[in-house]
Structures are given as structure tokens and as C-alpha cells.
Amino acid sequence: MSDFGIVSFGAYVPRYRLDRQAIAAAHKWMAPSLRGLAKGARAFCAWDEDSVTMAVEAARDALGGRGAAGLKVIGMATTRPVYADLPATALVAGALDLPRGLRSVDSGYSQRAGMSGLLAMLKGGEAGLFVASDAPLGKPASTQEMTFGAGAAAFVLGSENVAARLIGAGSVIDNFVDHYRQEGAAYDYHWEERWVRDEGYGKLVPEAARAALAEAGLAIGDIQHLVMPAMLRVAAGDVVRKLGFAGNVVDDLQADCGYAGAAAAPLMLARALESAGPGDRILVLSFGQGADALVLEVTDAIVKARPARGVSGSLAQALMTDSYLRYLSFTDQVELEWGMRSEKSAKTAMSEVWRSGGQIEPFHAGQCGTCGTIQFPQLQYCVNCHAPGSGFAPVSLRDAPAKVMTQTADSLSYHPSPPLYVGFVQFANGARVQMEMVDIGPDGIEPGTELEMVFRVKEKDRQRGYSRYFWKAAPTVSGNANKKA
């Protein structure tokens, strides 16, 4: 048994949830059978969320207060990268102020990428951060549109206080094309479900599972929790039966999230780790042009490894909507008339991004070395005593307690999720920043509402294909729980 494994984990599911009945109702005229899937709600990214922002949020949850010291490698998997050439790991590392010496591995290309990536890092044995983040997109009126969701799960790997260690693994690679998506295409193309179930999931997954169990020297009866995500839901039950598993089949998050592509298995693993006890064994299965299977054994350290939010906390932070068109617009599937104000250029000066990256990316205020005032942004001189900015020490505002000082709901500005909430955020440490506020329920916000910082897309430059990121403020769970959008 190695002394290496998962030491902490975290998760993020977008707050926006679309009632599946609204999707079915929109397509009733041409696809009445979707009604059969119209239960619960699916998560979707707000206009300013993507695989990068979700990854940052999940990683923050996983890192908690432990910091990133000692990490050697960062890995990230997604099938929905923001860029074809500009790795998400660089954006995530910048936002989280991770050590500069990190090695990075970006992966994707398969919904199995989440578990393949985690398996590779578990076998690699280097302290690291691995994130799977995905927001698969189903074509309007497809089964996938109903069942897909979005989310991210992150794992910190190391050799101290290991909470879950890998005790066996098995993989199969097979060019079984149940679906595919060409580079640049918006949607997947799927083959017949019955064939995918019987010849794909039904044979490839058990093959990998048996290999993993054999490596661990265990029988299926030695497993307490089974993670079996499936884009094709009927396939999961089939696999469970074929394996003869009788323990806890981990919830696939369909009720209020949906299938999150490459993040589906990692999210379910995180869910399992939230409730698994010391000594429990978890079999994690993942399908896509073959299969991966991991057997993990939970240790006593699990009790202290659980995240502040996790999957359960994420699912509880819901902003429900029944607006199918809001979902389509947020996910860039319909072009609405936003008026001339939306024509404003969103060009980004890359050299400026580089020059100010040290404070913009990780949201670092500066603390004046002379008078101690904490201020953002860090400008040439201290706002209070006018001492040179060269004497500032960085202070992260990412996790600093903050409240609304003033706010308004701006209906005039172009904003992809009107109205634009904007106002002064007053940090308890004295910093004050005019910020955009997001994920706000119908009751709005008030001076005094408690806020937390979230990493989001600040602006999308559609002309040049560039998304610029910055931090925004969102009401904390207590400030805005389970509201309807």
C-alpha cells in the first residue's frame, strides 16, 4: 500500500438550475417524448462561467485553508476547453496563485478524461492538484440536453494525511464510437443507445472493473460504494447488475445537476468521499473509448479531509429558473438582440494583462508597508499615506470576508444577465472595491449582505475569441439560499 493518495477534495456546481419541465415544454411541439425525462433540474453555467471558472471554484474548495505549498504538478481535464491553444491550468494556477514551479498537464478528448487524469496523477505519485471541470452541451431537443449538467471536482494529492489511497486500477482502450464531436463542432453525434449499452458500457466497463479488482486482490463484495456515471443512464444499472454489486450505488446527481461529462465521475467520487467512512472501499468506473476503473480505500484521515462546500453544499446553493431561453442564451446557443450597447469593443491588451497579472488574476490587494492600509487595485502610491506602491505586500481578497456597502440593479448597461448588479464591496480588512455582483436571487441584495468572491468571466471578446476573467462578488449561502432566479 502506498502512502500516497487523495488528501483533500472539493467540488463546484453552478448555482443556476433549469427545471427540466421547462426544457420539455419548449420542445413539446416536436419532441413530446422528452416529457419522460422531465424530472428535477439540471445545472448550467451562468454566462460568465466555463470549465476554467468552475475549476477554480472546485480547486478553492479542495485546497481550503491548507494553501498550495508543496504542490509539484497541476492537472486538469475537460471536454469543453475555453481555448484550443492556451491551457486551462495556466489560468487556474494564476487565479489561485499556485507556485511557479508547477508542472502542468491538460487533458480532455473524452468523458473518461476526468478519471484517466486522476488515475495518472495517483500513479505518478507527485504532490499535486487535479481538477476535472466540464459543461457538456446537448443539442436543443436532444436527450443530452435534458440529462447533461455542469460542474467540477478537484483533488489534492499528497503523502501526508492521505484520506483515500489507490489500491487497484484497470483500464481498457477501445475505439468504440458511441459518440464523437469534431474539433470546432458545437454538439456530439450519437449512435444507437441499445448498442452503446450492450456492447459499450455493458462489456468495456466490467472488463476494466474486473482488472482493477484483481489488482487490488478484492472481490466485488469487498466494495462498499460504486461510482458508475453514464451519459446513457440505463447503462449504469446494467453495469451494476453485471458486476453483481449490492452495496451503495453512488447517486449520479441527476436530480439537481445532471451528467457533467469529464467531471461526472470525479463529482460522484467527491460525493462518495463526503459520506464514506474509514475503511470503506470505493470502485470508480468511467467510460469513453474504453474504460477506467479505480479502487480506492478510505482512511481515518477522511474525517478531516472533507471540504467546506463539496458536492452537497454546491447542490444546496441553487438558483432555480424555468427560463429555457435564459439557459440557451447563457450557453451561447441562441443569439438575442442585445442592442447597440453590446457593440462596445472588448479588446484586451495582453501586455497589460501580463503587467498587472500579479494583482488581477489572484485578486491581490496591496498592504502599504508604511501605513498598513489594504487597497485594491495596487496603484503607484498608497491611497492613504502616498507612500510608493513598491512597498506594498500582497494580500489576497479571494477569501476575505466582505459585505455590500452600496449596490444597484442596473437595467441600462449591456449585461448578458440583466440587470447588472454593481456596487461597493467593503472587505472586513479595510479594502473597498467597486464590483460586479452575481448569482443574485429575486429579492436582490441590500447594504450589509454578506458576500464571497467568485472567479468569473469578466468580458467575452467575441470578435477576437478571448475571454477575460476577474473576480466578482456573490451572496454567501446564508445571504441567498435556494432562491428562484
Binding site: 447597440m340 491611497v383 440593479a409 441600462l412 448597461s413 447588472l420 476577474f470
Partner: protein, 398 residues
């Protein structure tokens, strides 16, 4: 020891175009309208102008940058023309430039002109401004109303005023201005508006509804300035002189430090203190006959009355509802209808306000003429309350 600008410079003539949706006129045409009125008023010819300051805010949108658009439209052959841009304080900045030039003795007669052609933008409201490559990385992309609307939270929190009471008081601000605008032939909007309409208008940026926002108009205004001696030599008997011209620009303290409570505009207070001192005004409440203030949004005018020390802190709500700033109140505000009725062609507004005060002091205002005014204050606020430029000019009879 600096002695300030008081009574060193006189307004020799002033002009103001008709404000409104001037589909018929470009920026050059608007400038000519104001310029010709001012020339005739001053009793001079174009060649007598030795230097000019031209204000324009939204150059990149509709006019073009530099001083060339003004020099060309007005055919100011060969003289120095400077371009001024300081957001909504631009018009007053142009007047300041021309006034300082005369006061320094560098020239005898100077022109200040501000013009803005907003209605070639294709939509209502001000076009979003470019904040600079650095600020674009973090500053939210809020509109002008969103910046000013936040004063409401700061003010209500500090003085524990209900949303309803504040909404009614700012509603009165707009109601009063629309009552006044009826008597302003050059105003864009000249209809009285019922209070119910104001209170129930669509929301723009909470709590500011449509009628809490000034209009968007085209317009130009100008002033020709000289020394009082030259004005007299040119035959002027009633001399309007400049008593004070003060600007205060935010250095970022409000937005970055925790010591500002959001209920007032520090820049306006700074500019007001200095302007009163420059003008030798010890009791503005007793001495000022009228004010024209920056009512870009109704909440701004309400807060400005406290920032100009005309209402006690926390009392402006009561004072407005009591009619203190109505046309028949103690200190009429926006006797011409203000930005509310003229709209806000950014660079023209400061000079339009000076034009009104000049005209009131000379008794030229017809149906809206006040009885024997002697001292008037104009106020602009560029940018947003928490980071901007306050400009104050005080004009009076010499």
C-alpha cells in the same frame, strides 16, 4: 499669495443653442448657433477673439478629437484653440481655461465653448466609455445611472430613511424641474410631468426610474470673457463677473478606503468650500440667489444641496419636499429646468448653466425670470459620485 479669480474677469457675451434631439444639426451647427448669439451679445467680431477653449466629451463617437472641429466650424483663423475634456465638468473647464487666460493678461478676449452631439449614437443614454486597458481588467461595466444610484444606499443607510421617502423626495426633484422647464424655450423637454408618472416610471438603475434621469440631447453653449475694464470700454453697463471657478478631482480615496460612507460627494464639498472662499461668500444660504446644479440624476441634486452646504446633512429630503428649492422657494434650483429638461450634452452643460445664471443676473429670462438675483452658482459633477470631478462656477453682478 494667490488672490483667486474673483471679479478679474467678466462675461462679455453668452450664447446657447436650442437643446434637444437636433436631427437637423451636427456639432458644428450647434456651436455656430451658440457662437453667433454670444458674438451679438458681446458686440464684437470673430477677429476680436484671441484664444478659445473648446470642450467636447464624446469625441470618439461623433465629432472627432482635438480642437480642430471647433476651429473649423467657427473659422477661428490661426488663434490658439485648446481642446478640453473632463467628463461632465468639461464645459466649466473650458470656461476656466478662457477665464484664466484673460486674468493672466495673456489675452484680452477669450471664448469658451462646449458642444456635444449625442444623438448620432443610435440609442438613448450615454455611450459606454473606455476605462483604459488596466481598469478594463477589473472595473465593472456599469452605466452612469448605476454609479449615481448607489448614492441612495449610502444616503439611506446613514440617515435611516425609508426607500419610499427617498423615492418621493427625488421624485420631487424631477417634478420641480419639469415645472420650471415649461418656461425655457431652449429646453429639450417643456412639459410638466405629474408626480405619479415620475414615481411609477420604469426602473433604470434602482431606485432611479426613467424620470430620475436627465435626458440625452444635443446642444452647445458658450461664453466670451474679457476684463471688466474692457467690458465697460465696449459699452457694457451691467457687468456680470466671475466670482469663483473651482474644480476638485477624486484621487481614488473614496473608492479604495473605508472612511467614506457613500452618502455625499467629497469632491463637491471640496470645490464648494474653495469656491465660497474665492468668492468671499460666508453664508451661501443667504447670499446665493439661485443655483444650477448637476441633476444628471435626481439623487445627485438631492445630495448636492447638502454638499453645497445649502441643506443640513440629512435634511435635503425634507427641504425638497418642503419646496425650499422650487421656483418660489428660498434658493431656486434649476430655474431653467436643469439637465432634467435640457438634457445633458456633456460638454455643453456647464456653459449652459453659466448662460442661465448670466441671463438671470441680467434680467433676460422672461417668464422664468427671478426677482433681482445677484449671485448664482453652477455645479457639475463629472464621472461618478465616488470617483469624479466636481466643478463649481459662481457668477454675480459686479
Amino acid at each position: 499669495m494667490a488672490t483667486g479669480i474673483k471679479d478679474k474677469v467678466a462675461v462679455l457675451g453668452a450664447g446657447c443653442s436650442k437643446f434637444g434631439e437636433r436631427w437637423d444639426a451636427g456639432a458644428g451647427d450647434l456651436m455656430v448657433e451658440a457662437f453667433e448669439e454670444a458674438l451679438a451679445d458681446a458686440g464684437i467680431e470673430r477677429k476680436d477673439i484671441e484664444a478659445a477653449w473648446y470642450g467636447c466629451y464624446a469625441d470618439s463617437h461623433n465629432v472627432g478629437n482635438s480642437s480642430i472641429p471647433a476651429a473649423t466650424a467657427l473659422r477661428l483663423d490661426g488663434i490658439p484653440v485648446s481642446r478640453m475634456e473632463n467628463m461632465c465638468a468639461t464645459g466649466t473647464e473650458a470656461l476656466r481655461g478662457a477665464t484664466y487666460a484673460v486674468a493672466s493678461g495673456a489675452v484680452d478676449i477669450a471664448l469658451a465653448i462646449g458642444a456635444e452631439k449625442l444623438k448620432d449614437t443610435g440609442y438613448g443614454g450615454l455611450p459606454p466609455a473606455f476605462k483604459g486597458t488596466f481598469n478594463d481588467l477589473w472595473m465593472p461595466m456599469g452605466s452612469a445611472p448605476s454609479g449615481f444610484a448607489q448614492l441612495a444606499d449610502g444616503y439611506r443607510t446613514k440617515y435611516q430613511i425609508s426607500k419610499e421617502d427617498l423615492k418621493r423626495a427625488i421624485g420631487h426633484v424631477s417634478w420641480k424641474s419639469h415645472q420650471n422647464g415649461v418656461f425655457s424655450p431652449k429646453a429639450h423637454f417643456r412639459k410638466a410631468v405629474p408626480m405619479e408618472t415620475i414615481l411609477n416610471a420604469p426602473m433604470i438603475a434602482d431606485p432611479l426610474g426613467l424620470f430620475d434621469c436627465s435626458g440625452v440631447s444635443d446642444g452647445a453653449a458658450c461664453a466670451i470673457v474679457t476684463t471688466p475694464e474692457i467690458a465697460r470700454a465696449l459699452g457694457k453697463t451691467d457687468i456680470v463677473s466671475i466670482k469663483a471657478l473651482q474644480i476638485s478631482t477624486s484621487s481614488g480615496r473614496e473608492v479604495q478606503m473605508g472612511d467614506w460612507d457613500g452618502s455625499y460627494v467629497p469632491n463637491t464639498r471640496n470645490a464648494a468650500r474653495r469656491a465660497y472662499e474665492e468668492a468671499g461668500i460666508s453664508d451661501p444660504r443667504a447670499q446665493l440667489s439661485l443655483t444650477e446644479v448637476h441633476d444628471c440624476f435626481s439623487i445627485t441634486e438631492l445630495v448636492t444641496m447638502e454638499d453645497l452646504f445649502l441643506s443640513d446633512d440629512g435634511r435635503a429630503v425634507r427641504d425638497f419636499l418642503d419646496g425650499r428649492y422650487d421656483r418660489d422657494g428660498a434658493i431656486p434650483c434649476q430655474i431653467d429646468g436643469g439637465l432634467k429638461c435640457f438634457g445633458h450634452p456633456v460638454a455643453a452643460s456647464g456653459l449652459r448653466m453659466a448662460y442661465e445664471i448670466y441671463s438671470q443676473l441680467l434680467g433676460r429670462c422672461g417668464e422664468r425670470q427671478l426677482v433681482s438675483p445677484s449671485l448664482g452658482l453652477a455645479h457639475n459633477l463629472g464621472g461618478v459620485p465616488y470617483q469624479g470631478i466636481a466643478a463649481i462656477s459662481i457668477l454675480g453682478l459686479l
